[in-house]
Symmetry: D2
Subunit: 223 residues, 4 copies
């Protein structure tokens, strides 16, 4: 990681960022990244990883992987397969796709073995500490009640961000902290960095914006 913040854009299962539209959205990310020098990661739906990763040069992350590896695991999403499709990292344990504690650990081991960067999503400071103990590359603290609210965590609950940063420093200083939930503007990003986060995880603030490319440019304007 360089010192510039990291922007992670979760495409969720929104119609506005699926299939060919996922490629378009990822190209916006690439353009804004190239123009600003800010690292932007695109997280399309899992079936879209291959075509998105083949169309852009920015990092593409999966939205989820399961604990399973190679074998009799029909329908499971493996680290090896998303890697082979072009992903270079993955979200794990997003609030919309929670995992068993033991499976977060297994998924992290599979991801590391496959060479994927990892972002474990958490919902409060205690869970952030627990996640940090499992040594992912990043934790992303996202209070579920603020997700999609337009009310940025960096303003609504700054203590949860600074508290997460502090807790992670104690438990495992190699883990970096992102924050999410309600983020949609460059001011929100700046506030997050101010609180000790190295970047943000967001979705609707860009994907559901009237002009997603403009929203992306706004996000990086203060960086």
């Amino acid at each position: 990681m360089d010192k510039k913040p990291l922007i992670v854009l979760n495409f969720k299962t929104y119609a506005e960022s699926m299939g060919e539209k996922a490629v378009v959205m990822a190209k916006y990310c690439e353009e804004v990244s190239k123009d600003s020098g800010v690292k932007i990661v695109a997280c399309p739906q899992i079936p879209d990883i291959y075509r998105v990763a083949g169309s852009v040069k920015i990092p593409v992350f999966a939205q989820h992987i399961d604990a399973a590896g190679a074998g009799s695991y029909t329908g499971h999403i493996t680290a090896d397969c998303v890697k082979s499709a072009g992903a270079t990292g993955t979200l794990i344990n997003h609030s919309e796709r929670r995992l068993l504690l033991a499976d977060i650990d297994s998924a992290l081991l599979s991801a590391k073995k496959a060479g994927l960067a990892t972002i474990v999503c958490t919902n409060n400071i205690a869970v952030t500490s627990a996640a940090a103990a499992l040594s992912p590359d990043y934790v992303a603290i996202e209070p579920p009640e603020l997700i999609g609210s337009g009310n940025p965590v960096s303003k609504a609950n700054p203590e949860i961000v600074s508290g997460s940063v502090k807790a992670v420093k104690t438990i495992n200083p190699h883990v970096k902290v992102l924050c999410g939930a309600g983020i949609s503007t460059g001011d929100d990003v700046a506030a997050a960095i101010e609180l000790g986060a190295v970047g943000v995880l967001l979705a609707s603030g860009v994907i559901k914006a009237k002009d997603p490319k403009a929203a992306l440019f706004d996000l990086v304007k203060k960086i």
Copy 2:
């Protein structure tokens, strides 16, 4: 469906059928299908659907879809997205990826709306009846204890196949019955058809064979 049996090949998360090897495996299926006139469906891992579907002309099915549709469902596999990636159908409720009853129903509705063919997997005659009441295109009866055993359901437990066929006829005669678990030879396929199934669902019998293409040719030899 024509009168020739249907062969559904589940790639599971086997290393032998992932990534570029998934494309190779699907091409074997295509070659054998073209040569024999038997319809063969390839079910690669979900991140592989796009590249497999872009490489062959046989039907490509997803191994699983979730109940979720467009929206805030990070990491979920939607009918619309696998369709957009090139799938024309999907397995639902495989024994390695069981679903809540209400979610099987929702997934079926999403699949139908997206134009995907549907195969609901079941484990005994009662569950086959329940699945048939939800009106998928196919049910695939697979006693879990025989999956991957090399001991074909059509010999080990022929009553579960004929009983499923009979039960489905009563509940919903539009639903067709596949059978799986332990299937690996053309004799197994012939026995399944004899019992009233319209085809088979199999995995390791082909994927783990020393010569998968030869195994596929063997499967269709009596058809």
Copy 3:
């Protein structure tokens, strides 16, 4: 079942019907049942079954059982154990405690073997049909969006009740239909019976009433 309707009162995890208050609530049910001749079933929290069943003579049902039987299933709720604690029946697959399709089937088999009466909860006509194919004693159709709404399913969506009754008659005429969601008055009960249900499943309409005993008396007034 006699011809009088059946009232099933779900105590949920409400504070108003837990511990000693569960015993009090069950005694209200007993008093109203004795007075009216209407069969009322009490469904306390699982840890409360033993003391409730030891205090009243009306039937006590569990709110849930798992698919597991005797063995290495720490923390699972078995049919045998709730039976031994005094339950004579159980809800299965309540909308707040959904089960995998295969587990509904296993739980039903365990319940039957243990001699427990069974009520499988469902959310729409298709799922009611599927549940009926598994041969429980009752299905209870409860559209989730009406649960706790005070807007009775018998008025808000009468077709889902009559449609469920009709569907069950086709699939398995031995299964009886209850309806739930939004039920709180004797008029609601009368309307449910009119639509072909043999009784109702309710919770907050009684438990959260200012005077639960009066609410129970109101429920049976038209019977």
Copy 4:
């Protein structure tokens, strides 16, 4: 905790320790505890808590609680209800009843609020560290492959016990470490204490023994 080791006996859903037999088993625990001065905790099935807790004076723990509290959570096991039934503590996240990470955190908060002691089960050193970060009273490290094996973790994998003790000391020194899996004799207990554990969690070694009371006496013989 005094300095004597703690013995936690998990009754699982074994037929040998259900219903009235749960009371008998708990009385054996009470007798051996009284005789030896060693604290023994009985963990009966959840529907058995009330009658077991009413029959013995040793601590009775639940095998599991859910994250849910009072409200619309049909079928969930709440901390308040098991407390009201007589439990003074609970296992959480046993390998046979794994929980989502966020739910372990919620269940711990509910348990603390209800005044229940807490034991979070874990499967390896990393997961033990994560669990310790959530501040339960105890973690119980149990490699799943050794559970019920008769091959004690203290011999088969002593590093996982000493490693867990060391990891917990770093993360949260207030958390105490139990170990489990394969424990059945007093020698196993002594070895566990030697490795830094404060006690053991066991099940089949006692419950499935020909003479459970003798097995309990053997467990405490070296203490």
